[in-house]
């Protein structure tokens, strides 16, 4: 241990060249953030400005007036969206959460990889394909466009999001907790119900909300399955209106009153998605704190 090792000379100051490099990269990073934010802010600004002008009691209380008259609303679209998304939630939540549980807790074999791969593919297929598929499967079979068909089409979009997100949050639950349950003599399903799910709790809720936020704004699948309706429809087997659909139709119309309504609808969609996303985000932050 007597061999002397020459001491390494540690410079006391940072060279001006490195300082300049650091500066350049910092500026480049900040600039890209700003550039990415510009379109987002412009979209939000425009939707809020034009949308606020259209928001009134009548937007929610009335259906459409003839094209040349000011006022009127899109009550039927809000109710329709509520029905369609409601149907999608009823089908996709149990399906998605159970799939997530399967993938996380039992998913090691070949079937699991097939399910996981399928969900992955579904996540990335264009939503109009989902719409066309359900059109062929449900609309043609039942002989009518309907809210039910739209709900099923949204399920195709929402199920894989929920399944994968649920799998991810359940995987975050430490193995030690599962073992603690098993060592007490809990059967596997009971470990899942009493330990894994409660521990992941808010995380699963987050998964559900993100999927709902996505389904809420989908237009193409709804277009091909619900068709749209100028009047309030509460029968899930009949053509139904939806907010994205109404926005799509009105925003390209020739009448200022309809275009104004379209912005009102767009604002409401934006708000809905925002509320769901922010709540989901807050829940997941709280969850991460608890897991620590």
């Amino acid at each position: 241990m007597s061999a002397t090792v020459p001491a390494i000379e540690v410079p006391r100051t940072i060279s001006s060249q490195r300082r300049t490099k650091d500066r350049i990269f910092s500026i480049a990073l900040w600039a890209s953030v700003v550039i990415a934010l510009i379109p987002l802010l412009l979209i939000v600004y425009r939707v809020v400005r034009l949308g606020l002008a259209a928001v009134s009691v009548s937007l929610f209380a009335h259906t459409a007036l003839p094209a040349n008259m000011a006022g009127g609303g899109m009550k039927q679209a809000f109710l329709g969206t509520a029905m369609i998304v409601g149907i999608a939630i009823v089908i996709s939540v149990p399906l998605g959460v159970l799939t997530g549980i399967y993938l996380s807790e039992y998913g090691s074999g070949r079937i699991a990889s097939v399910v996981r791969f399928t969900a992955e593919i579904l996540l990335s297929i264009p939503s109009i394909v989902a719409g066309a598929f359900i059109w062929a499967l449900v609309v043609v079979a039942l002989g009518s466009f309907s809210g039910l068909a739209a709900g099923v089409a949204l399920t195709v979009i929402m199920w894989p999001i929920m399944a994968r997100a649920t799998e991810e949050v359940l995987r975050l639950v430490p193995t030690e907790l599962r073992e603690g349950g098993l060592a007490l003599g809990y059967p596997r399903w009971r470990v899942i119900m009493r330990v894994v799910l409660p521990t992941a709790g808010a995380g699963v809720l987050t998964a559900i909300m993100l999927a709902v936020a996505r389904g809420l704004g989908e237009t193409a699948p709804v277009l091909l399955t619900a068709l749209g309706n100028d009047f309030v429809n509460t029968n899930p087997m009949k053509p139904t209106d939806a907010v994205p659909l109404r926005v799509y139709n009105y925003v390209q119309s020739a009448y200022p009153a309809w275009r104004a309504l379209a912005w009102g609808g767009a604002l409401m969609l934006l708000l809905g998605v925002l509320v769901l996303s922010v709540t989901a985000r807050m829940l997941s932050i709280r969850q991460q704190r608890r897991m620590r």
């Binding site: 430490p174 030690e176 349950g181 060592a183 007490l184 003599g185 330990v195 521990t199």
Partner: protein, 251 residues
Amino acid sequence: MREIDVSSLSAWFGSKQVLHDINLGIERSAATAIIGPSGCGKSTLIRCLNRMHEEVRGARVEGKVLFDGEDIYDPRVDPVVIRRRIGMVFQKPNPFPTMSILENTVAGLKLLGRLPKAELQARGEKALRAAGLWDEVKDRLGDPGGRLSGGQQQRLCIARALAVEPDVLLMDEPASALDPSSTLRIEELVTELKDRYTVVIVTHNMQQAARVADWTLFMLYGEVVEFGPTSRIFTTPEDKRTEDYVTGRFG
């Protein structure tokens, strides 16, 4: 009298064999320590005693573990039933984070069906007293279990395991994540518990084995090197490797 008899036990993770032909008898109402260097298979061995080993993907066991004269690896035996009679405490305290202190303690009792609240309370208190935690938590039974200190959490886990009144308590390095004074509490607890329960404790701390165990098993490379009364293993071991290990020459 023997409570558990292990014969020709081998275990694998995938294709890697981690236990080779283990034979071992564990005495009733005594503490048996399993010692050996890291990776020698001591945790795997203890996890084979309540069928927890097979919960790991790709894990496999061969051989017999007789408990009360019955082979726990008999295909007709439900591992869930075995685990209720052979409790386990893990290396890292693992109270259920969504449950309160009392709920954690009686978590295993919920399996016995719906018990009246007063009975749950009484059994919870008994278990917490047995784990030496009652006085510290009696005024805050409703607090989350995760709010306790590491040492308290581990005693909560011991209480949770005791509440179902098992015959055997397996402890897999129960103090390795704890500070010295918490470790001392756990060791005192083990010496108390071994009068009423059969305790098997895995430890990498030889002094701990010497302090708490009546019997000691020394393992190396997944094999039993020597098994005998603790005093003999530590003073007059028969095998040279045991002597080298307990005198601190390796490991």
